[in-house]
């Protein structure tokens, strides 16, 4: 029995060790497949087929991180006077070494990395040089080689990368202008450029690729399907380029009748917390719908969605215009309070128009309804009055708020109580909040224009009592080792926050809430009641205010998109 147990333990340990080891050599089935592929490669003359076979062979080994095994397999490829095959061999030799170096670096397998890096780099450039010598721009292999060479220098941040990039672009365009044997290669190049954040160059190649696939005789249905496919892959740049072509085609063919299809596309790209979206592209489509079918082409839900999209795309001024149209056109819509409140916030703090903003808040506060936005609007009226030194007026607003809120809206009531305590104690408005209002409304702070750092929330539409991540990002630029120290002055509706840096909840303060401290550029919070929650941030450095920004989270009973 003991022996059996010991054997079982040994076998289990053996399997555990095997599992924990990085994959390496191919198993017998894979080896058999590899040798069949090599045989087939040696027999094949067709370039496109060779590419596919080499790729299949490569992936077999690369998936097992068996780069040396792949190179051994390559040694059985070619021979004789098949120059074309030899060039493919050179390319894949370079690719294998490139991936091997990356693998070693990513996994910090330094001994092997340090021992081989120089010779492998030389092998990469040497092999690619041979391919470039033996090919023309009509040859797909040359484009693949250019792409690999650029990635190689790009990864190393080598000065040669700029030259290689312009070479890649020029030759890919030349390739596309000719009888491109494999147009998918243009997309491959664009995808790679996009993954390296070379968005402009990627878009340029996507445009060329789209022009190739959207040939005049191509069926519209196929184009739409292709666009949807790219969207589903998360490749929004390409999806948008294909949709552009599709939209133009159906708009020309159908005119206003194309509106329903365009609405579908606009919805697809509209803001969503957990799916690919591009609110500004959605707006472009909305504008086209309006162009085709007039304002009436958009119903109240779509008008709200359009405004909401612009808000999430941070185009607050355009969002304000759309919310205003929505409020004017559909005064009884359930989203009206939200739109009114956002109009107040945008007008006051983004446009620096205190009286205009107050108008929207007043309209809400005068309402007989009791909604989260009505309560928040009264708070804003009190706050603005307090900031202007009209303390008794402010107190009246806060008391009215408490009266109207009853036992609900605890978060906003807590803020009102805090303000009342300040009035009672003849104290100024809490520092963070006052600083935010100062730099948002004082004429001398007009340079605080919300451009120096980003403020984002996720999700933007959250159910109650669920985590919302709020983060700011300031681009430091390259600044040596002297990183400016910032203070983050958070204010507004911050919910019941907990510290994301150590992921431990902190005890609520006397208001039943907590607040991120000035060292935190991000935090996670939860909201306990519905409404539109404005989050304010001012970043301060040793030399003063860097900038201010605000964002809005919408809290609902249940999650969903508008």
């Amino acid at each position: 029995m003991k022996t059996l147990l010991a054997r079982t333990v040994i076998i289990v340990l053996f399997f555990l060790v095997c599992l924990s080891m990085p994959a390496f050599a191919l198993d017998s089935r894979e080896q058999k497949k590899a040798s069949l592929l090599v045989t087939e490669i040696n027999k094949t003359k067709d370039s496109a087929k060779l590419h596919a076979l080499f790729n299949e062979l490569g992936e077999l080994y690369f998936n097992n991180n068996d780069f040396d095994g792949f190179l051994t397999a390559l040694s059985s490829v070619g021979g004789g006077d098949n120059k074309g095959l030899a060039l493919w061999n050179d390319y894949y030799t370079a690719l294998a070494r490139y991936r091997q170096l990356k693998y070693l670096e990513d996994n910090q397998l330094w001994e092997e990395y340090f021992a081989n890096q120089n010779s492998w780099r030389t092998q990469i450039t040497g092999s690619i040089a041979k391919v470039l010598e033996g090919t023309t721009t009509a040859d797909p292999l040359r484009i693949l080689s250019r792409l690999l060479l650029w990635r190689f220098y790009q990864d190393q941040q080598d000065p040669a990368r700029e030259l290689q990039l312009s070479g890649l672009m020029a030759e890919t365009e030349e390739y596309a202008a000719g009888n491109a044997a494999d147009i998918g290669l243009i997309k491959t190049a664009a995808d790679e450029l996009s993954s390296y954040n070379e968005k402009g160059n990627a878009r340029q190649l996507y445009k060329i690729y789209v022009a190739k696939i959207v040939a005049p005789g191509e069926e519209s249905g196929k184009i739409k399907k292709a666009a949807l496919g790219f969207y589903s892959q998360g490749n929004l740049d390409l999806a948008e380029a294909v949709y552009d072509a599709y939209i133009e085609r159906i708009a020309q063919a159908q005119g206003a009748a194309a509106a329903p299809e365009l609405i579908e596309i606009a919805r697809q790209f509209s803001y969503g917390d957990n799916r690919p979206n591009d609110p500004l592209y959605a707006e472009k489509v909305f504008a086209r719908i309006e162009e085709l079918g007039g304002k009436e082409a958009l119903d109240e839900k779509l008008m709200y969605l359009r405004a909401f999209n612009l808000e999430k795309g941070k185009d607050f001024l355009a969002a304000k215009d759309r919310y205003r149209d929505f409020v004017a056109s559909f005064p009884d819509n359930p989203e009206n309070d939200e739109a009114q409140y956002k109009l107040g916030i945008i007008t006051t703090y983004i446009m620096r128009d205190i009286s205009g903003g107050r108008g929207y808040f007043t309209k809400l506060s005068d309402s007989d309804k009791v909604s989260p936005q009505v309560i928040s609007a009264i708070y804003q009226l009190g706050l603005l009055a307090q900031w202007e030194g009209k303390n008794e007026e402010a107190r009246r607003y806060y008391l009215a708020l408490k009266d109207k809120a009853g036992d609900g809206f605890r978060e906003t009531v807590a803020l009102a109580n805090e303000r009342i305590a300040e009035l009672d104690g003849s104290r100024p408005i809490e520092y963070n909040l006052k600083t935010f209002i100062d730099v948002s409304l004082r004429p001398q702070d007009v340079q605080s224009d919300r451009t120096k750092f980003e403020l984002n929330c996720h999700p933007y539409r959250s159910p109650r009592n669920q985590d919302v991540n709020i983060s700011s990002s300031y681009y430091y630029g390259d600044n040596g080792c002297l990183q400016p120290e910032f203070q983050y002055l958070w204010s507004g509706h911050l919910g019941a926050y907990h510290d994301v840096s150590n992921d431990s909840s902190t005890a609520p303060d006397s208001r039943g809430l907590t607040k991120p401290d000035t060292s935190q550029s991000a935090f996670t919070t939860q909201y306990i009641h519905n409404g539109s929650k404005e989050v304010n941030l001012v970043i301060v450095s040793a030399s003063g205010v860097v900038d201010r920004n605000l964002d809005i989270v919408d809290v609902y009973d249940s999650p969903g998109t508008p």
């Binding site: 340090f114 390259d478 030399s543």
Partner: protein
């Protein structure tokens, strides 16, 4: 009569021509025989530059040097340390191939400073780059627009030059370090009444930069008068502000940049050519050897970054084809760990090798997932670690992996040339 006049005219013309030729010969001979400065910058076509020392091309293979022992703070006068740390360090540096040490500020005792410079040079062949902070870390902030402040700093700088200019081991002077950031309000902010009157913050920044770089140029011009034998470098954080320096700092010979961009330097070499056409010395760069994410020392990570950085420096030397050709070398930060750096005010901490990070830099990506993304460990930048174990009165020096890898790179700098255009 006419003939006589013509003859006279001709003979005068011949005489003038002969005199001109003679003068030209004297000028050419004079130029040729005029001794070159001990250290100077040679310019080639295409804004490529090479540093020349003792008549030979000189690639700066440098380290930033500030050997504060364990348990001591930044004010420790290591120059006067009876155990002479520079002798132990110099030997190790020589074995590695280091030819230059960069000093941020000379010690207070000129005799000790001279001794260090001459020992380094005479025993190990290592030259010294002498620096000055230009009052950057003074309290309150440096008032670069104030005459009194300027005069005091100028006196300090020129005194330094007068004291050490004749030391054969001196390579060049570096004025400031990352002082330019103060012009842009990022650190140690300062202003003047005139700047305060300007309401546009962007214009204020440019005004400050103009004041600062004009002052540095004034210092450079004065140094050249006293010491024609050594170049003057402008210490600058990244390239920030150099478009202003181009207009107001003609007397600067070299731009000495402080760069922390992970495994490379980006487009800095070519960018500098278009912004301020001067040779570039990467006067401070490097990587720490502590993985803030895993909470342990990682010498390989540091070695990886340093080797990649040196490769880029070499790719941009004047002698390397394909690169920018304006780089004259670099000085790694730094030779040995400094245990006081995490908190300079906590004397107890000076004996502790602190692993808490103070700043974040995503370019050093291996440990960027550390808490709050703080991955840079200020006390772990040495390519030589210190041990509390005593060795001849000094903390024992333990070369890290970077020491050996950079040594091998210097012996055999393998670069990857792009394939020639077909």
């Amino acid at each position: 009569m006419l003939e006589v006049r013509l003859k006279g005219f001709r003979s005068r013309k011949v005489f003038l021509l002969a005199a001109s030729c003679l003068a030209l010969c004297f000028f050419i001979v004079g130029m040729a025989s005029r001794p070159k400065p001990a250290v100077w910058v040679k310019k080639f076509k295409g804004s490529r530059y090479e540093l020349m020392a003792a008549g030979k091309p000189y690639v700066v293979k440098g380290v930033c040097y500030n050997p504060i022992p364990i348990g001591k703070g930044q004010d420790y006068d290591w120059w006067s340390d009876p155990n002479k740390p520079w002798l132990t360090d110099g030997r190790l540096m020589q074995e590695m191939g280091v030819n230059t040490v960069r000093i941020y500020k000379a010690g207070n005792n000129p005799g000790s400073v001279k001794k260090v410079i001459s020992d380094m040079y005479n025993i190990y062949g290592i030259r010294t780059v002498m620096g000055h902070w230009l009052g950057f870390w003074e309290y309150p902030c440096p008032l670069y627009g104030g005459k009194e402040f300027q005069e005091r700093v100028k006196k300090e700088v020129l005194d330094m030059v007068r004291l050490y200019k004749d030391e054969p081991g001196v390579l060049m002077w570096i004025l400031g370090n990352e002082n330019n950031y103060s012009c842009f309000g990022q650190v140690n902010p300062w202003s003047t009444d005139e700047i305060d009157k300007e309401t546009d913050p962007a214009k204020q920044n440019l005004m400050r930069a103009r004041v600062y770089y004009s002052f540095v140029n004034e210092l450079a011009a004065e140094i050249h008068k006293i010491d024609p034998n050594h170049p003057v470098a402008l210490g600058n954080g990244e390239l920030l502000g150099l478009e202003v320096a181009r207009d107001v700092s003609p007397d600067i010979d070299v731009v000495a940049c402080i760069i922390y961009r992970g495994k490379g330097f980006g487009n800095i070499f070519n960018s500098l050519k278009s912004i301020f056409d001067r040779p570039i010395l990467i006067s401070e760069f490097g990587a720490d050897s502590y993985d803030a994410y895993l909470g342990k020392e990682d010498q390989n990570m540091q070695a990886f970054f340093l080797q990649a950085q040196w490769r880029q420096i070499y790719q941009n030397l004047a002698t390397t084809k394909g690169g920018a050709g304006n780089c004259i070398g670099g000085a790694m930060f730094e030779w040995a760990d400094e245990w006081w750096k995490h908190n300079e005010y906590d004397a107890d901490g000076w004996s502790r090798h602190d692993a808490e990070s103070n700043w974040s830099n995503p370019s050093y990506y291996f440990d960027i997932k550390a808490a709050n993304n703080k991955n840079m460990n200020e006390e772990w930048f040495g390519i030589v670690a210190l041990s509390k174990e005593d060795e001849s009165g000094l903390d024992r020096r333990i070369p890290r992996k970077a020491y050996y890898l950079v040594r091998e790179f210097w012996k055999n700098p393998v670069l990857t040339d792009p394939p020639r255009k077909k």
